[in-house]
């Protein structure tokens, strides 16, 4: 098949029309709801989702919920407000820090961090990262915990299993409380919760089950991240949002999605993945992307492993019959 640097280019106008039609149809005919509730973070995916919903349903049938907590970047709220002003939909701010504190999110997370770094102080910042050299070697994903004190000094260690699991479990309370908050606003209006995950997040499992994965529809779930950027350009969303590096906005120290989960830049990952799905020979992919065949094969293996390893996240509750 034809494979070149533009294989993931889309006709953004046509895709937008199609998505608007789908969003209207699913909300009205399948879900029997009359509007859309979206968690907006100032990130590219929630921005494009909100802009599409405003176009599909009209801005009066859209509400963007901003749900900052004490580790959120202040830029998130500022960008979310700018987005809402441009597309004319209402916003509601729900600070979820108190709820998270009540659930023990911060205490449980910090307890696990201190099991690795006993000197960790709650006023310091922390983040989890994975190797980002995944094309150099076919490596497993393992996780480093990095802490930073007020003086900017950092320490990093590979995490033992128990600390990793507890930090993730505590941090996932954030996405789950956000989902709960979104459903409050949806049920109050008899509207639907619209999820914002793209194909990269959905299929490789970069979401929290019953957290940001919990929604009534996910209009971007079939689109690669670099295609979401193409829609953003077409929809003319604020330039700062397009140019902002995607982060998890979950950990107190800022961590990019590349560092935390994907281990590759989005263009390379999406092109590799597309090539893998369409059985493009590794030699051809290597030529187009300027990589070695070994790098291409490492990339294929890493993507495939993430898809397989996160299958559990994508399964609905299993029935016995």
């Amino acid at each position: 098949m034809e494979f070149n640097k533009h294989s993931l280019d889309i006709d953004a106008a046509a895709v937008t029309d199609e998505l608007c039609h789908t969003i209207r149809d699913q909300i009205r005919s399948r879900l029997h709801r009359t509007g859309a509730v979206i968690g907006i973070s100032g990130g590219i995916d929630s921005t494009v989702t909100a802009a599409l919903c405003a176009r599909a349903l009209g801005p009066k049938r859209v509400v963007g919920i901003m749900m900052p907590e004490k580790d959120s970047s202040p830029a998130s709220e500022q960008l979310a407000r700018k987005l809402a002003a441009q597309f004319g939909f209402e916003t509601v701010k729900e600070d979820i820090s108190g709820g998270l504190a009540g659930l023990g999110c911060y205490d449980r997370r910090d307890e696990a961090i201190r099991s690795v770094f006993p000197e960790f102080n709650s006023s310091w910042t922390a983040k989890i990262t994975i190797p980002t050299n995944i094309l150099a070697k076919d490596t497993f994903n393992f996780f480093h915990l990095t802490i930073e004190n007020e003086a900017g000094e950092t320490k990093s260690k590979r995490m033992p299993l128990s600390a990793y699991l507890q930090i993730v479990a505590a941090s996932n309370l954030k996405q789950r409380l956000r989902m709960t908050t979104l459903y409050y606003h949806a049920e109050k209006r008899n509207w639907a919760v619209v999820g914002t995950g793209n194909k990269d997040e959905h299929e490789q499992g970069f979401f929290v089950k019953y957290g940001d994965g919990g929604a009534d529809l996910k209009p971007l779930a079939h689109l690669f991240k670099i295609q979401v950027y193409q829609l953003a350009e077409y929809l003319n969303v604020p330039r700062e949002i397009i140019e902002r590096t995607p982060t998890t906005d979950t950990y107190s120290a800022e961590v990019t999605q590349e560092e935390f989960f994907f281990g590759l830049d989005f263009y390379t990952m999406d092109m590799l993945w597309y090539a893998m799905e369409h059985h493009v020979p590794a030699e051809k992919v290597a030529g187009v992307l300027g990589l070695s065949v070994e790098q291409v094969l490492s990339g294929f293996a890493n993507i495939e492993r993430k898809i397989t390893a996160t299958e559990y996240l994508k399964l609905p509750p299993l029935h016995a019959d």
Binding site: P131, F142, A301
Partner: protein
């Protein structure tokens, strides 16, 4: 210290069965089967596996050794332990 390959193989199989197959030692997998591809362990399981290597054999894989070629089958694990404990 050379390892007794047959003993280590048996110990690793027992660990995999207990830790990942809820004690079901009837699940069939060959010594060369990829744990990942056969769905026996996931990325979290790899951490559990490395914790076991440390606890049982005193071997802590370096970051650069966290590779499927070292850890993703009984054969690979045995060869890895043999190199590390030689």
């Amino acid at each position: 210290m050379a390892i007794d390959q047959a003993v280590v193989r048996k110990e690793l199989r027992q660990f995999i069965a207990e830790a990942f197959l809820i004690g079901d030692d009837q699940v069939e997998f060959s010594d060369s089967d990829s744990f990942m591809k056969s769905g026996i362990i996931d990325s979290t399981g790899v951490l559990e596996l490395t914790a076991h290597l440390e606890e049982k054999y005193g071997v802590v894989p370096a970051d650069a050794e966290m590779l499927p070629s070292n850890l993703d089958s009984i054969d690979n694990l045995v060869a890895f332990l043999q190199r590390k404990l030689a």
